[in-house]
């Protein structure tokens, strides 16, 4: 059965590591919903947060296969309710009053910025929150939209 899974992978901060990981996942015909990479508190290590839509049994294999890569230090699947996740959203809206947009964005902790004659809404939050905000902005005519994809940390992380 297919479902969304969030995998957190600690990797060596080398060139070519991203290609190894995305290649391994795509070779199994899994669709990557989002993938974020950046360095961690240790500059020699990067953390990748990968959201995939995958069959649960096959995903177990992929986790083992990821762990088998030499440049992969650690693989964790983050279980629903056991992690904090955020993504950042930028939306360009066709028109309308700035105040009206601010009214929508504020409950989400969002901001509205004027940029070269158009209005851009920015907000961060977990995936569900961002989805809800996007729905509410639709009636104002979205012309461009970009999301960073999920970054996540386990709630019970090391102190």
């Amino acid at each position: 059965m297919n479902a969304k899974h969030t995998i957190s992978v600690l990797v060596e901060n080398h060139f070519g590591v991203l290609a190894r990981i995305s290649g391994l996942i795509s070779a199994r015909a899994f669709n990557i919903d989002s993938l974020t990479v950046s360095t961690t508190e240790d500059p020699t290590i990067s953390r990748m947060t990968i959201v995939v839509d995958a069959d649960t049994v096959k995903l177990e294999q992929v986790k083992h296969q990821l762990a088998r890569l030499i440049d992969v230090i650690r693989v964790d699947e983050l279980r629903e309710g056991e992690f904090i996740d955020r993504e950042l959203l930028l939306v360009r809206v066709k028109g309308g009053a700035k105040a009206a947009l601010e009214q929508i964005a504020q409950p989400f902790g969002g901001k509205v910025t004027e940029a070269a004659g158009s209005l851009v809404v920015e907000a961060s939050g977990d995936t569900k929150t961002i989805d809800t905000l996007v729905e509410q902005l639709r009636s104002h005519g979205i012309t461009q939209l970009v999301r960073t994809g999920r970054i996540a940390l386990e709630k019970n992380g090391k102190a």
């Binding site: 990797v11 060596e12 070519g16 290609a19 190894r20 290649g23 391994l24 070779a27 049994v57 177990e60 294999q61 083992h64 296969q65 762990a67 088998r68 890569l69 030499i70 440049d71 992969v72 230090i73 650690r74």
Partner: protein, 584 residues
């Protein structure tokens, strides 16, 4: 001490115990060849780079050491790829050293440039691009370590020319520390309970089978496997790549299982109540339809690679660890099960469903392989291509020694046989090496006869010449109503081809010429010998599990073949007496 990158490379190769390397020089890897040729390492020039990677592979399979191959950038590197992929699929330790254009022009479509790391990424265990000679020693050390430890596999090192001619201070790294790769870590405590569970299951089983794969050979666990089989009185079947891991002369041997496995072996697997996979990966050619595979059995799976477990067949007791270590622990705990009834049942099936073939007017490959098995007492190193002859070699040669079958299992690479035999002969110079091949397979790398002749290797090549891609022709007959789409090969005079390459050539047209030709070939020790056997063109490999069918529904069974002159066949004249099987 300051050395050039290529000299550092050679110093590291020497410390890894490399005594031979196979390859072809070209523009950007000239510094590497130049440095190797001033060392004690033997450089073997191959005709094609594919030959080099298969030779390194054959050397590794025959010796258990890491095989080394070299190629220049671009086409040299891409020509290695089939051999690298072959080694990857069968977990063979190999280091491939490829030349690369200088770092300043990488990505500019320079002459003979290809993204070798990118091309080989899915078929290597790991790969390195050395951009600075200061990294050379660490990279080479790590590459050999990764290639031979854990689940072995090929590692590629891409060497831009400036990294080989540039100088750096040489200090040999005494240890390897890769935080994402710790294959020699002590097994976790969990493993102890898994081994206990395995021992418990074995003591309760009444109809157990050990299913051994190449992992037994990689970890050098054949003595432990024999001990376990005899201690617990469990019959042993092997995968194609596991052949030789358990002596087929042993009364507990069931030979090979799977698509072209023995009839009684597959029936036994279908009936067993416990299947113990040892360093085997439940390949689809073994399992047939995965849901039906050993469907009455509880399954134990011992494997060094956690990603192999539950990949195709769900198991009850997974044990992750080095096969040799796990078997040693298991031997301490295991109590013999009462398998006497089971061994009697198997003895009965061996008698009732023996391996067979129908005699024909023309020479049959099965007979030829029986005669090679007999003439070499099952003690030769046998390389093969891929196809019908490969299956017949697996069925009719009696493998009694570890690392005696050198064959491409996972990737099924035609053309593997000759170069692999050459590599094996370099690794085991005093031994008899045969390449059992088909005319289709052989022609894919036949040019390497020149390499064998240059080094006066006494390898013997037995070509089962049926002027077809025989396995393709068999499938076309079985599943495509006999339409032979592009499976017939134009006749080639292989004796002339042998002689043109300064090898001995012998042709065999009739059955009575078979054994004298084999004996004759065994006498020729100063050059390679090619024996061309003109065999029946319509012979099929039996028995056979059709793709997707369960193990107890086989085609070409003894019952069918025996109706029309099929007689029970033994692999060697003095092959196993079924009476020994119960072990008293």
């Amino acid at each position: 001490m300051k050395l050039k990158g290529a000299q550092i490379l050679v110093e590291c190769l020497k410390r890894e115990g490399v005594d031979v390397a196979f390859g072809i020089p070209g523009g950007v890897n000239l510094p590497t060849f130049d440095a190797i040729c001033s060392s004690t390492i033997k450089l073997v020039l191959t005709v094609h780079e594919q030959g080099a990677s298969h030779m390194a592979d054959g050397y590794a399979r025959a010796t258990g050491k890491v095989g080394v191959c070299l190629a220049t950038s671009g086409p040299g590197a891409t020509n290695l790829v089939t051999g690298i992929a072959t080694a990857y699929m069968d977990s063979i330790p190999m280091v491939a050293l490829t030349g690369q254009v200088r770092t300043s022009v990488i990505g500019n479509d320079a002459f003979q440039e290809v993204d070798t790391i990118g091309v080989t990424r899915p078929v290597t265990k790991h790969s390195y691009l050395v951009k600075d000679p200061r990294d050379m020693a660490r990279v080479v050390r790590e590459a050999f370590y990764i290639a031979r430890t854990g689940r072995p596999g090929p590692v590629l090192i891409d060497l831009p020319v400036d990294a080989t001619v540039g100088e750096a201070e040489f200090t040999y790294p005494e240890s390897v520390n890769i935080r994402g790769y710790q294959p020699e870590q002590k097994p976790p405590a969990l493993q102890a309970s898994q081994i206990e569970a395995a021992a418990e299951a074995i003591s309760k089983a009444r109809k157990p089978i050990l299913y051994a794969g190449a992992g037994v050979l990689h970890s050098g666990a054949w003595a432990e496997l024999i001990e376990l089989a005899h201690k617990a009185k469990i019959p042993v079947t092997t995968s194609l790549l596991g052949l030789g891991g358990f002596p087929e002369s042993d009364p507990l041997s069931l030979g090979m299982l799977g698509m072209h496995g023995f009839e009684y072996t597959n029936y036994a697997v279908a009936q067993c109540d416990l299947l113990i996979g040892v360093g085997a990966r439940f390949d689809d050619r073994v399992t047939g339809k995965p849901d039906e595979f050993a469907r009455h059995a509880k399954k134990i799976h011992i494997d060094v690679d956690p990603s192999s477990i539950n990949k195709t067949v769900l198991v009850d007791v997974p044990v992750v660890g080095d096969v040799k270590q796990v078997l040693r622990e298991l031997l301490k705990l295991v109590k013999p099960a009462d398998t006497s009834e089971w061994l009697k049942t198997i003895a009965g099936m061996k008698k009732q469903f023996p391996l067979t073939y129908r005699e024909k007017q023309k020479v049959l490959p099965q007979y030829i392989i029986q005669q090679i098995s007999d003439a070499t007492k099952g003690e030769a190193v046998i390389a093969t291509g891929v196809g019908q002859h490969q299956m017949w070699a697996a069925q009719f040669y009696q493998f009694n020694r570890p690392r005696s079958l050198i064959t491409s299992g996972g990737l099924g690479t035609m053309g593997f046989g000759l170069p692999a035999a050459i590599g094996a002969q370099f690794g085991r110079p005093g031994e008899t090496v045969w390449d059992i091949d088909g005319d289709g397979s052989f022609q894919m790398t036949a040019q390497e006869l020149a390499t064998a002749a240059q080094h006066k290797l006494p390898i013997k090549v037995a070509i089962m010449n049926n002027q077809h891609h025989g396995m393709v022709r068999q499938w076309q007959d079985l599943f495509y109503e006999g339409r032979h789409a592009a499976s017939r090969l134009n006749p080639v005079d292989f004796v002339k081809l042998a002689e043109a390459n300064h090898c001995a050539g012998i042709r065999v047209d009739t059955k009575d010429q078979v054994r004298p030709a084999i004996d004759n070939a065994m006498q020729i020790t100063d050059r390679p010998t090619v024996v061309e056997f003109m065999v029946d063109q319509t012979e099929n490999v039996w028995p056979m599990i059709a793709p997707g069918k369960p193990h107890d529904q086989m085609l070409g069974t003894y019952e069918i073949l025996s109706k029309d002159g099929g007689v029970p066949q033994r692999r060697r004249a003095e092959a196993d007496e079924e009476s020994k099987l119960s072990l008293g």
